[in-house]
Amino acid sequence: MKIATRESFGRALCELAKEHPEIVVLDADLAAATKTDIFKKAYPDRFFDCGIAEGNMIGVAAGLAACGKVPFAASFAMFATGRAYEQIRNSVGYPHLNVKIAGSHAGISVGEDGATHQCCEDLALMRTIPGMVILNPADHYEMTEAVKAAYEYNGPVYIRLGRLAIDTFNDPDTYQFEIGKGITLKDGNDVTVIATGLVVNEALKAVKTLEGKGINARLINMHTIKPIDKDIIIKAAKETGRIITVEEHNVIGGLGEAVCSVTSEYCPVPVKRIGIEDIYGHSGPALGLLAEFGLDAEGLEKRIADIMKSFA
């Protein structure tokens, strides 16, 4: 099944709202794109369009939360975390209000809209806010559980959503989500690949192919960027001695640096970061861009193999 995580998010919100009347949803004129329109259709009285005014939307969400509501405020990742960064920092983060922020169209897989809309900095921005929880689910089933977990957690949460329809790979019968607990998708002892979000499945395909080429890589799905799962990183560092991170985000400030901060403090090992190399994206079809930036399965297979040579 192919489904974009934004779609999964919209459906999950709708499901949750059935049992929890305190859930309200805000959007900034992008309901059709963030998929909060699914909620809007089901619960028109609980949906508030704030217009193209993201800073005000976050402040309104803060006020709603201060009065006991659980607002989910959605926009594109660029505008939710970029335009409204300071509102999130001061009106939501500082008072630790129970606001959930959803940033859709994250990363270069936005595609044709190009660099102004391809946010590769959202994880970095949100990581700097004390007490912020950051979730970056990798497929439909993970997003569904992440939205529930975000609701159950009392405090600010940022959820990263993708535009591109992607394959599901988790097993809905056995899948379990816990904030701050990475998931080992494949065991291995030569190297640990830690991936997050949309590229997890690409990394999974890559490490499976590499298995047949003599590289036995462990793969961790790091769905929570903050609080980062220290234990699983330290264990991987000790057992495999080297780490490669994979993210559809600037290599500055995202998963890679979060992992480095753990290894450098607790168990120094070589870490190589695969991601967007501190540059802007550009227009093009999403799949073409992922290939160009080396973030599809083939690209990752080659990059990981090359890095393994450099590790030697």
Partner: protein
């Protein structure tokens, strides 16, 4: 209001001003000018207008106050202490390390503070969210938000104003403390706002203009605001920055500066003399 009520209100405002000076002096920093200009309206809100209970500061049905011009919290803290939310002695540790009273309002740690604020332009949006929550829950509490005149230069104020009007938040009452001065000088020299009344009118607000240092006008404005249906209200209150302390009045230099020991004594002497007159 009766003459007796007026007298009581004036006495309380004088006490708010005294504790404002105490706070800023002991903090050795802070914002006396805009605290003193707003003191009368803050006094009226906490001692006449708002349905609040210092013994039940989290009551979900209470009226809310958001000090969007958060730097003027010395006056808010004074009113909260005098209302009984916490001991007035707390005010003497304002801005100190480990103190409850932060340099800008902190809802997590200060009883009676309904919203953390201080970054200008943000409190008004939170107030909109609170007013929306009341509508959503069919509750009758009202939400008050006080903005500085200089604060109205922030774009977010107008995003929020559009939102409040679009959502017909008639349970929201904004107060603009129009003392005419901001850090860099006169508002009209820095980035003129006028005509502020027609700006708010065109954004869909009921606009009430008053002298914000006159309790009869303050009362009339808040009473009128409660009768407005289908749209939010803004009270544009002309005030004197530094009101009540002669050498601070209308002086831009007292926007964000603490008095030294001599100035502190002079301010207290003046305010205590005013209080003595009021107490007969």
């Amino acid at each position: 209001m009766t003459n007796q009520e007026l007298l009581e209100m004036q006495k309380m405002a004088c006490k708010v001003r005294i504790w404002t000076i105490e706070g800023v002096f002991h903090a050795k920093s802070g914002h006396p000018g805009g605290s003193l200009s707003a003191a009368d309206m803050i006094t009226y809100l906490y001692f006449k207008e708002m349905r609040v209970d210092a013994n039940d500061p989290k009551n979900p049905d209470r009226d809310r106050f958001v000090l969007s011009k958060g730097h003027c919290c010395p006056a808010l803290y004074a009113a909260l202490a005098l209302k009984g939310y916490f001991s007035a002695e707390e005010i003497k540790s304002l801005r100190h390390i480990g103190a409850m009273l932060q340099g800008h309002p902190d809802m997590k740690h200060t009883p009676g503070v309904d919203m953390s604020s201080g970054s200008l332009g943000q409190g008004i949006s939170a107030a909109c969210g609170m007013a929306l929550a009341a509508k959503y829950d069919s509750k009758d509490y009202r939400v008050y938000a006080m903005l500085g005149d200089g604060e109205c230069e922030e774009g977010q104020v107008w995003e929020a104003a559009m939102f409040a009007s679009h959502m017909k938040l008639d349970n929201l009452c904004l107060i603009v403390d129009f003392n005419g001065l901001q850090i860099d000088g006169a508002v009209n020299d820095v980035a003129g706002l006028e005509p502020l009344d027609t700006k708010f009118e065109s954004f869909g607000f009921e606009v009430i203009k008053i002298n914000g240092n006159d309790f009869n006008e303050i009362e009339a404005a808040f009473e009128k605001a409660k009768t407005v249906k289908g749209k939010p209200t803004v009270i544009i209150a002309n005030t004197v920055k530094g009101k009540g302390v002669s050498y601070m009045e209308n002086q831009v230099g007292w926007h964000g500066k603490a008095p030294n020991a001599d100035e502190y004594q002079k301010a207290l002497d003046e305010l205590n003399a005013q209080l003595k007159v009021l107490e007969g």
